[in-house]
């Protein structure tokens, strides 16, 4: 009686874990696709900005390089990583691209002609929208991972998961310095960009 009850619970638990794991993978795919969406915007952005009269070359190079290193940290888009170090590497590369992009947007404040073009405005809107989507999908992914990991630890699941090979998944860590918009001051350009806080004297 007890044994059959236990096996029933076990069966239900197994199914539940499979569902939760699938949700984690699905959310991971969503995360990947929004990051890809951002990466796809970059060639267009770079060519639009490069067209502007004497645009700061170093900013552009930084974006191009960050885009390239993001391309090198390819993770399986259909399966959430199990290795925390792997995810960390991915997050770091994406974080560098975020930094490079926001720096580029800050620098572009100094090019009113560029900012006034519809092509640039559209790209800026798309980039902002993509950043919003990234933060949403990262949160959704973290929520799914948390639910799955919690289920794994709970009795009697914790006895079963070893048997069936379920592994806890790492999640995205809160915005570190690399993820936040940088504060950039360009004394050589004169006016302080609106996006950066007033410099302390």
């Amino acid at each position: 009686m007890l044994a059959s009850l236990f096996s029933l619970t076990g069966c239900g638990t197994y199914n539940r874990l499979v569902t939760l794991e699938q949700t984690v993978n699905k959310k991971w795919a969503d995360v990947q696709s929004v990051y890809q969406r951002r990466a796809d915007l970059i060639p267009n952005l770079v060519s639009t900005v490069a067209g502007a009269a004497n645009f700061e070359k170093s900013t552009l190079t930084e974006v191009t390089n960050a885009r390239a290193s993001v391309g090198q940290v390819k993770l399986d888009p259909s399966k959430a990583p199990t290795d925390a170090a792997e995810l960390e590497k991915f997050q770091k590369a994406q974080g560098q691209l975020s930094t490079a992009l926001s720096r580029l947007l800050v620098v572009s404040e100094n090019y009113p002609q560029l900012k006034a073009t519809q092509a640039f405005q559209n790209l800026q809107v798309q980039l902002e929208g993509t950043e919003n989507r990234i933060s949403v999908e990262r949160n959704n992914f973290n929520t799914a991972v948390q639910e799955y990991n919690t289920a794994l630890e709970r009795f009697p699941t914790n006895m079963l998961n070893k048997m069936f090979g379920f592994k806890p998944r790492p999640f995205f860590t809160a915005a570190t310095g690399a993820e936040k918009a940088p504060t950039v001051n360009f004394p050589t350009f004169g006016s302080t960009p609106a996006a950066s806080p007033a410099a302390t004297p």
């Binding site: 009850l5 619970t9 405005q121 798309q126 902002e128």
Partner: protein, 258 residues
């Protein structure tokens, strides 16, 4: 004992969900609006507001797309407008659950900011660039001259124009579809009643701590008092109430400040 476990767990989950809800008190997420067009800031004449509300209700009947307008005085959050309004739109569940075809135009009059939140299912028909074009180049010039009614009407028309044709409607709104269910007294009817009662209690409780009071609720016609489950007439001078269909939002959309 084992059999009781799910029940106990369920109760724990519900309790913790309630507490989690209560704990996040810093930011105010306004409760679900009663109408499609909600002017909490009183910047649009009542007749105009009613007309736009009916237009949006009719739009849902024809296309199943749910478009909601919410005009507030101020944002009550530390987050930026994109983040904040996405959470609001998500909590209102604007759009149908499967199609995720909701869009919400948020306006914060005192902050001079607006944002169009676009549900997952409308991101193709109403991309960020189009949303930006609507707020920046169509609505903003009118808002700058203080013409809120004109700007909002223009915004509503353009949003509807962009997303019409994406999905087919059923001739009824979510609110109207819900109505017949409660008249059949089966176990289902009971369940629906229970949900409605719980929702009313919940809404009432939320409204208690709600920061936008003082400006009064949005204008709704006198017919609204009877509107919870009785189906509002789709023709004639009736008022069409709004119910979210379970839509979700993933950060699509754009906005402007003026």
């Amino acid at each position: 004992m084992e059999l009781l476990r799910p029940l106990v767990l369920g109760a724990v989950v519900i309790c913790s969900a309630v507490f989690a809800n209560e704990a996040a008190a810093v930011e105010v997420i306004p409760p679900k609006p009663p109408a499609y067009f909600n002017d909490y800031a009183n910047v649009v004449p009542k007749e105009k507001a009613l007309a736009l509300n009916e237009k949006l209700a009719q739009f849902e009947r024809e296309t199943s797309n749910q478009v909601v307008v919410a005009v507030f005085r101020k944002m009550e959050t530390d987050s930026d407008i994109a983040d904040y309004t996405r959470r609001i739109a998500q909590s209102w569940k604007v759009g149908q659950a499967e199609k995720r075809n909701g869009a919400v135009l948020f306006v914060f009059v005192d902050d001079r900011k607006m944002f169009i939140q676009v549900g997952y299912g409308l991101e193709g028909a109403l991309p960020d660039v189009t949303a930006f074009d609507i707020t920046e180049r169509r609505i903003k010039p009118r808002f700058r001259t203080g013409d809120y009614a004109g700007g909002l009407e223009q915004g509503v028309d353009l949003i509807c124009k962009a997303i019409r044709g994406e999905y087919k409607g059923t001739g009824e709104t979510v609110e109207e579809k819900r109505a017949p269910a409660s008249s059949g007294w089966g176990p289902l009817g009971f369940l629906v009643m229970l949900i409605i009662v719980l929702t009313i209690i919940r809404l009432g409780r939320r409204r208690g701590g709600y920061g936008y009071t003082g400006f009064g609720g949005p204008f709704v016609s006198s017919g609204w008092g009877s509107g919870w489950s009785s189906s509002s007439s789709s023709s004639g001078g009736g008022f069409s109430g709004f119910s979210g269909g379970g839509g979700s939002f993933g950060g699509g959309g754009a906005g402007s400040s003026w």
